[in-house]
Symmetry: C2
């Protein structure tokens, strides 16, 4: 069987990326304009755009509204088999985390939440909606649903911190068992709006369902990430 | 702080999904037409489409070219901390796996591959490109790069099987150490074409870099999945 031929724009993508690496353009630095690039690489604007769009799809560059193309910061690494808190793994990788509470409310458990948590429909539940930043770039929004039975008064505290740490330090609650699910989705509605992206932009969903030491529902996280912000990273066995 | 109001189409999305569940529409079953749905829910075609599009973004329904909307099959579960082979986890979940080789070739190690494997640039490398099916729906395409030093003659075997099993059974090679990376991307170029989706459709990328018992590069997998086909699923601790 013969090798599959690569289209011109993919060859250009390789030359463009090699050039970016040679130029040592770093995180959040700006690329030359499309016009300049098409002159430098002796090609058309259409082909340059296809090559740039390929690099965007690979998460290597991102577009900032009308201001051009930028180098995407290195993806944060997250290991679900370890699953430490956001503030910890961001800090461990040398970045600066920040959390902003967009809304918090005591509400009633809806049917879908009852189904996965075992709480009765209509039972009281805390719902906190937050945006989280890494080095001041907003990378995700998160819905936290917390069982108020175990942590009355939680909403009167600041939720611009680690909720896990708060549950542990102030309420002596520790997630003993967790089910984590991760899959790609298109960002829409509230989440797209709060992240400042177009409806339908690709994203990553992380759900974390936690039960306490007695096996009772403790907390549900539903995180919506920008598609280029995170990678799941798992190491099996030891490097020789 | 007050609760954020949900737009009409999101409310409709909930009613629509409740109705689908009540009707017990199952995997790959077809939804009524958009016209029928807008009559049933006393709303406009525009709002129905927004609600359907939301369910599509969530991976609950998918569109089949001009033939309407269908219920997405349950996502396959894949646990990277366990990382058994495709044929095994598909079979364990009650589905039927199939693999089709699209091309295979002995070629030369390009710079990017040299960098992550430690092979010399230009060193011989097997490159196999395959499409994999679950219950006859093509869910992913995969590039395998295999170090021929340890398995001469591999390409003369059928590669429509588990390459891991072949390496183990015929060459006594076993991946001892693996680095796994997973992130969302847009499917483009060759991979989009081989999956029969539009350029730029959201997808999921899984990379698996394996070294053998002696710490030498064994194999690199680069998998490109449809966005609605897989979920990463990790359980931590035991359920009480």
């Amino acid at each position: 069987m013969s090798r599959i031929d690569y289209p011109v724009y993919l060859q250009l993508r390789d030359r463009l990326w090699t050039w970016i690496e040679d130029e040592q353009l770093g995180s959040q630095q700006r690329l030359p304009s499309e016009r300049e690039l098409s002159e430098r690489f002796h090609t058309t604007r259409v082909t340059i755009r296809q090559a740039l769009s390929q690099l965007e799809a690979e998460g290597l560059i991102f577009r900032s509204n009308r201001r051009g193309w930028y180098i995407t910061p290195e993806r944060l690494r997250y290991d679900p088999s370890r699953d430490v808190g956001f503030n910890r793994y961001v800090t461990e990788q040398g970045f600066r985390p920040r959390t902003e509470t967009l809304s918090k409310v005591l509400t009633e458990t809806p049917p879908w939440l009852s189904e996965i948590t075992g709480l009765a429909i209509g039972a009281p539940i805390y719902h906190v909606f937050r945006r989280r930043y890494v080095d001041e770039r907003g990378l995700l929004v998160e819905h936290n649903y917390i069982n108020p039975a175990h942590c009355p008064g939680l909403l009167s505290e600041s939720t611009d911190v680690s909720i896990w740490q708060m549950l542990r330090d102030q309420y002596d609650l520790c997630p003993e068992h967790r089910d984590i699910e991760i899959y790609p989705l298109a960002l829409k509605g509230l989440e797209a709006e709060a992240l400042g992206v177009n409806q339908g932009t690709a994203g990553l969903y992380i759900q974390r369902l936690s039960f306490d030491q007695r096996g009772e529902f403790l907390e549900l996280d539903r995180e919506y990430w920008l598609h280029d912000a995170l990678k799941i990273s798992v190491r099996i066995g030891d490097r020789h």
